[in-house]
Amino acid sequence: MSRILEGLLYSESHEWVKTDGGIATVGITDFAQKSMGNIVYVDMPEEDDEVSQDEEFGAVESVKAASDLYSPVSGVVVGRNSALDDEPGLLNSDPYANWIIKVRMTDPSETGNLMDAAAYTAFLEKQA
């Protein structure tokens, strides 16, 4: 069973979002890290890069495969978690404590398209 945290928002491509004012912190869910297996590289954008909702902003790579990351919100990257450069496996050990990017949202209303914990739980059950 995958861990799902209350208070976060979720995308269908298994990213989580935590909003604080106009800043969205983005990571991947426990379900995502489990399906990937050992994560060996995280391809992240640079600060000041622009990201758009539902568009690719990077990738997470396991031994066997690369999985694209899709941004759950639109905006400008204001932080990248450089700890993942040296220790990408942090995403396996705790995917919710280890975020990937922080985005200054240009349209905070977009978060209305995302799922809450209950909806994401139901979404995962439907996938199974």
């Binding site: 297996g37 050992n38 060996v40 590289y41 391809d43 690719e56 990738a59 790579e61 031994v63 066997k64 690369a66 450069d85 990408p88």
Partner: protein, 366 residues
């Protein structure tokens, strides 16, 4: 669509909770726990693989030696019973039909050809058409043989315990025929991981018994996922990636397995012509500065143009470096050349190097 075949160990894989996936026409275990753990087990201790999907084709008859010599790039004319050679079958145009092992059996005029699972049908057709006019019998024994690979530095000790036999005198690329629980087994000191180890060929029933005995001895089952990371690190080719119908052994760096002296074989003229002119591209290694992973099909670039393509790439589990094998056009194929690999939107800098990223540790005896 062709239905996927199951090996004689399929039920065990499912019982062990393996992640199963199609490979070479079979449903095969990709991993049982995780690829990194299984990879490290083989490098540090030992692990076992179900490789029953491999094809076994028996060629026998009065013309067998001459005929195998005609279709195989390596020279079997001096091959003694109990010895094995690696080589390829070529098309007349010089591309590779398949890469394979040839076993000279103790029965006179008999050779066992071990071929890639995905190519077994194609190879059989190729061999049968080439056999016209030769006094040989060609039999596909793939269904009659199961095969287990036991690989890693502790393989000799584990095999001794399970078989109750001493294999320390069995040198790399030789084999012996023995019994396990009363059933015949070919014990071959070969493998596809760069480590010491054995491959056991036997009936499906005996294969299940050997597998169970190895499991009971504590040998971890390992999937095709780490079989690929292991073979890749030591620069061994995989048909469909580093070898194929449009690839010459010269381009793939396998010229040493093609013997042209006093040996005529299908594809020889094309091989010699290419050797004379020098191939336009070569299989090289590339080491990236970053940890991004170059994967099969990604373009290799230099001076603003595409100069090659990745065939296999990983973040090497044994070394931690992101490396790949790639076909690269000359002059960029020279060691030390700075190139770039396009990975998604970015181009990552890399350096052309030897395509062996980790040292082999075979059991060589006199």
């Amino acid at each position: 669509m062709e239905t996927l075949k199951k090996t004689c160990l399929y039920d065990s894989h499912v019982a062990l909770g393996a992640q199963m996936s199609p490979f070479g026409g079979f449903v095969m275990p990709i991993s049982y726990t995780d690829i990194v753990r299984e990879h490290n087990a083989v490098r540090q201790h030992c692990g076992m693989f179900d490789v029953s999907h491999m094809g076994e084709i028996l060629v026998s008859g009065p013309d067998a030696t001459d005929f195998v010599g005609r279709i195989f790039t390596n020279d079997v004319s001096d091959l003694q019973p109990g010895k094995i050679l690696y080589g390829m079958m070529l098309y007349p145009e010089g591309g590779v039909v398949d890469d394979l092992l040839v076993y000279r059996m103790s029965v006179p005029d008999t050779y066992m050809l071990v071929v890639n699972a995905a190519n077994t049908g194609k190879d059989l057709g190729w061999i049968l058409s080439a056999a016209e006019g030769w006094d040989v019998t060609v039999e596909d024994l793939s269904e009659s043989y199961g095969q287990i690979a036991l690989q890693g530095p502790e393989s000799e000790r584990v095999a001794a315990g399970v078989f109750g036999a001493d294999f320390s005198g069995l040198a790399f690329y030789t084999f012996t025929e023995t019994l396990f629980d009363g059933e015949k087994v070919i014990v071959s000191r070969t493998g596809y991981t760069g480590e010491d180890g054995f491959e056991f060929y036997s009936t499906p029933e005996a294969t299940r018994k050997i597998w169970a005995a190895l499991l009971a001895a504590g040998v971890p089952p390992c999937g095709l996922g780490c079989r690929d990371t292991l073979r890749f690190e030591v620069g061994l080719p995989l048909y469909g990636h580093e070898l194929g119908p449009d690839i010459s052994p010269l381009e793939a760096g396998l010229g040493m397995f093609v013997k042209t002296q006093g040996h005529d074989f299908i594809g020889k003229a094309a091989f010699e012509a290419l050797k004379e002119s020098g191939p336009e591209r070569r299989l090289v290694g590339i080491e990236l500065a970053d940890k991004a992973i170059p994967r099969a099909g990604y373009p290799v670039e230099a001076d603003g143009t595409v100069i090659g393509e990745v065939t296999t790439g990983y973040n090497s589990i044994s070394t931690g470096k992101s490396v790949c094998m790639a076909f690269v056009r000359r002059p960029y194929s020279a060691e030390g050349t700075q190139v770039g690999i396009r990975i998604r939107k970015k181009v990552f800098p890399g350096t052309v190097c030897k395509k062996r990223f980790y040292g082999k540790k075979y059991h060589i005896t006199k």
